[in-house]
């Protein structure tokens, strides 16, 4: 595994989608504009296009996520692919089969694409390095590392509401340490030229190196969202809510929960995003989640189109043997 970006082929085209880090601006823009053309597909009588007809897409979820798997499944079916869902949590891994043995077996079933969710950071890279050159790997979330299609659908959402990235202030709020969504958003936002990306949270939930990634770090929510155009709230997972990282969900909500009063500090036309599933009353007040600034449901709709774009673009690239 060298240091060459493993997601691009020798022509610089997207071959695997593993991370938004190192993804050229032109590739991101192509995915977003391709997604535009798929937005209307859902509203047609026949909700599919034949771009992936005859292709086999395997959803390999080594970690459970019905929601994400479903969005990928819908995206692949709308591209006319044959979709196979493998719940690896309960099958091969439980029998002690190694990750790469599983991949070899499924490759032998004429797979064209693997959509991979794995609990360990970097697992899709290992798979991408291992598969035959005609197979594409899409990262559907790996450990704390990346969730690139979520990052891209967030970019699509921001572009939809704000048009131009180059004059925005974007605040990412909450558990950035454990969030693959945050990392994917950060790299995409900086690549697209957002001048101010902020990380907001208690020091227990902020990883080292945020400044090196080009972020401004805030520990007070009020300061972090003041004047923001976009606020991305992150999910706080149950296991983080009590212990040494945070004393309680109640205290977290008091200081980092987004309420209408705090939202008023942002720009009047600010939008509020959340990758879902939300913890109402923990990171976000229901009045905000259901309020005028919330674009949380449109994010889900855009997610299908963005995933269709990512799958079809990756599938169209070829790699020399």
């Amino acid at each position: 595994m060298g240091t060459r970006n493993p997601q691009l082929n020798s022509n610089g085209e997207l071959h695997h989608l593993l991370s938004t880090e190192g993804l050229p601006k032109a590739v991101i823009e192509r995915i977003l504009s391709t997604a535009d053309s798929f937005i209307n597909v859902a509203e047609r009588e026949v909700k599919s296009v034949p771009l992936l007809r005859g292709k086999s897409v395997f959803n390999l979820f080594f970690e459970n996520s019905t929601r994400t798997r479903t969005t990928f499944e819908i995206a692949a079916r709308r591209l006319s692919a044959d979709v196979f869902n493998l719940d690896i949590v309960r099958s091969s891994a439980a029998k002690g089969e190694s990750l790469l043995d599983t991949i070899d077996n499924l490759s032998a079933m004429q797979a064209d694409m693997f959509v991979v969710r794995h609990a360990t950071s970097g697992a899709p890279y290992l798979i991408a390095q291992h598969v035959a050159p005609h197979i594409h790997v899409i990262n559907a979330g790996d450990g704390r590392h990346a969730h690139p299609t979520q990052g891209l659908l967030d970019m699509y959402t921001i572009r939809h509401y704000k048009k131009d990235f180059t004059n925005l202030t974007v605040a990412i709020v909450g558990d950035i340490l454990h969030s693959r969504v945050a990392r994917s958003d950060i790299h995409a936002l900086t690549t697209l030229g957002v001048p101010e990306v902020r990380a907001v949270g208690p020091l227990t939930l902020l990883p080292a190196g945020l400044e090196e990634m080009g972020l401004r770090v805030f520990t007070k929510l009020e300061e972090g969202i003041r004047g923001a155009d976009v606020i991305i709230m992150l999910r706080l997972q149950n296991e983080r809510m009590k212990g040494a990282l945070l004393p309680s969900a109640q205290e977290y909500f008091s200081y980092y929960g987004l309420t209408p009063e705090k939202l008023a500090l942002a720009k009047p036309d600010a939008i509020v995003m959340h990758p879902g599933p939300m913890n109402r009353g923990v990171e976000i007040d229901s009045r905000v989640a259901d309020g005028a600034a919330s674009v949380i449901l449109p994010q889900v709709t855009f997610g299908i189109a963005v995933r269709m774009a990512a799958l079809s673009i990756a599938a169209s690239s070829s790699r020399m043997q």
């Binding site: 595994m1 790469l100 950071s121 290992l126 190196g209």
Partner: protein, 422 residues
């Protein structure tokens, strides 16, 4: 048996000798270094013109996989000889751990039968390495253990470490400790910093090392126990060792050859070959290691050899077994460090010969008349590519695979017996 090694550039770090000279061996000991005595009639002559003659390398940490894997030691000993290593310290993190005299006897027997390098077993400091109760360390010492180690991290319970130091001091036995505070290291797999933050890898803060070092030094002040610090990794940790030595605490320290060369950025896109323990840290930490070697804060460089199979390495970064095969790359990577940092060879080789032997308290690692004839004759210019086929070790995974390295042993002699190149 009388052996003459002639016309080589003889480098003996212990005495500072560095010139073309003859080395004469009678039976298993060095009979002359410098001029060949007029009456010395060799049975065997090794022409070392253009080659370097040095003490055999003494490696303060190499896993030979015994007990645990039958027959593994024999293979790894071939790797040691190919690497010019004539003495290997075997840590007790075997399966089962080296905590009983019977196991130590088996290891020594297996080692003798292999006709490889000398073996210096480290006994487990605590039963089963669990960090709870002391192993029978004086009995183990009588069986041949040179020191006692707690692998991975300090005992969870500080009182166990305190009593271990008191007990070891009773018998004047040295402790070898990994400066890792496990409650801070947790399940981390990479050094805390920008790289781990970006890749989303669970991380180990520098404080895991510095807090452990402070604990060790404070308990040394209370007990007077002698401690060798194994595998330093951070700038701050090195500074603490520097101060402890200045204070006069009985402490020595080593680093791995990987940490002399590599940093966390080299992990690239989750390359599991770079999953090491301790984790690779920043360029600043690596520079501090190089400075610590130069000023003597760090006594020795070890290989930290671990012959890990592909099944345990071809995994996502955080799940891959930490470690690398390294017995055969220790010498060329030491030469590489010397040439890149303009360290005279006599000083560079000291870190893998005389200094580690002094840490052990053994009369090897030096070309002194009367000392055991553990000698390596190597070609410093010979370049070779690190490939699976080129490596004798069962472990084929190293961060340096594919590299073109310079320097390879031609002859390796252990106690006057030509075990490589014969």
């Amino acid at each position: 048996m009388r052996i003459l090694i002639t016309k080589g550039r003889v480098i003996d770090p212990a005495s500072g000798l560095d010139r073309v000279a003859d080395v004469c061996i009678t039976d298993n000991r060095l009979a002359a270094v410098g001029e060949r005595p007029a009456d010395f009639r060799p049975d065997r002559t090794i022409d070392a013109a253009g080659l370097i003659v040095a003490p055999g390398l003494v490696d303060l940490c190499a896993r030979m996989m015994e007990p645990g894997t039958e027959g593994a030691l024999k293979v790894e000993m071939q790797a040691a000889l190919a690497g010019g290593v004539t003495g290997v310290v075997c840590p007790p993190d075997t399966d089962p751990p080296l905590d009983e005299p019977g196991l130590v006897r088996m290891l020594r027997q297996s080692s003798r039968a292999s006709a490889g390098a000398r073996t210096y077993p480290l006994g487990a400091l605590t039963a089963g390495l669990k960090g709870e109760t002391l192993a029978e360390i004086e009995t183990l010492s009588q069986t041949g253990c040179v020191a006692f180690m707690q692998t991975r991290s300090l005992p969870h319970d500080n009182s166990v470490l305190l009593q271990a130091m008191r007990y070891a001091k009773t018998f004047e036995l040295p402790l070898w400790l990994r400066p890792v505070e496990d409650t801070l290291a947790g399940a981390g797999v990479a050094a805390a910093g920008a790289v781990a933050g970006r890749l989303g890898l669970p991380s180990i803060p520098v404080a895991a090392e510095t807090v452990a070092l402070q604990t060790i030094f404070e308990l040394q002040r209370a007990t007077g126990a002698r401690v060798h610090i194994c595998r330093l990794s951070s700038q701050k940790g090195i500074e603490l060792v520097r101060l402890a030595k200045r204070e006069g605490l009985p402490v020595t320290a080593d680093v791995t050859i990987h940490h002399v060369h590599l940093i966390d950025v080299d992990i690239g896109y989750f390359d599991p070959r770079f999953r090491l323990d301790p984790p690779l840290r920043s360029a600043r930490d690596r520079d501090a290691i190089i400075a610590g070697l130069a000023d003597g804060t760090i006594d020795a460089i070890c290989s930290d050899h671990a012959p890990i199979g592909d099944d345990d390495k071809q995994l996502p970064f955080g799940e891959a077994a930490p470690g690398a095969t390294a017995l055969e790359t220790l010498l060329p990577l030491t030469l590489k460090w010397a040439s890149e940092n303009k360290v005279p060879l006599v000083q560079a080789l000291a870190k893998v010969t005389s200094r580690p032997a002094e840490v052990l308290g053994e009369d090897t690692g030096r070309l002194t008349v009367g000392a055991k004839a553990d000698v390596v004759v190597f070609d410093p210019e010979q370049s070779w590519r690190v490939t699976a086929d080129a490596l004798k070790s069962a472990g084929k995974t190293t961060p340096f695979s594919g590299y073109e390295l310079q320097g390879r042993a031609r002859y390796t002699l252990v106690g006057g017996d030509i075990r490589l190149g014969g």
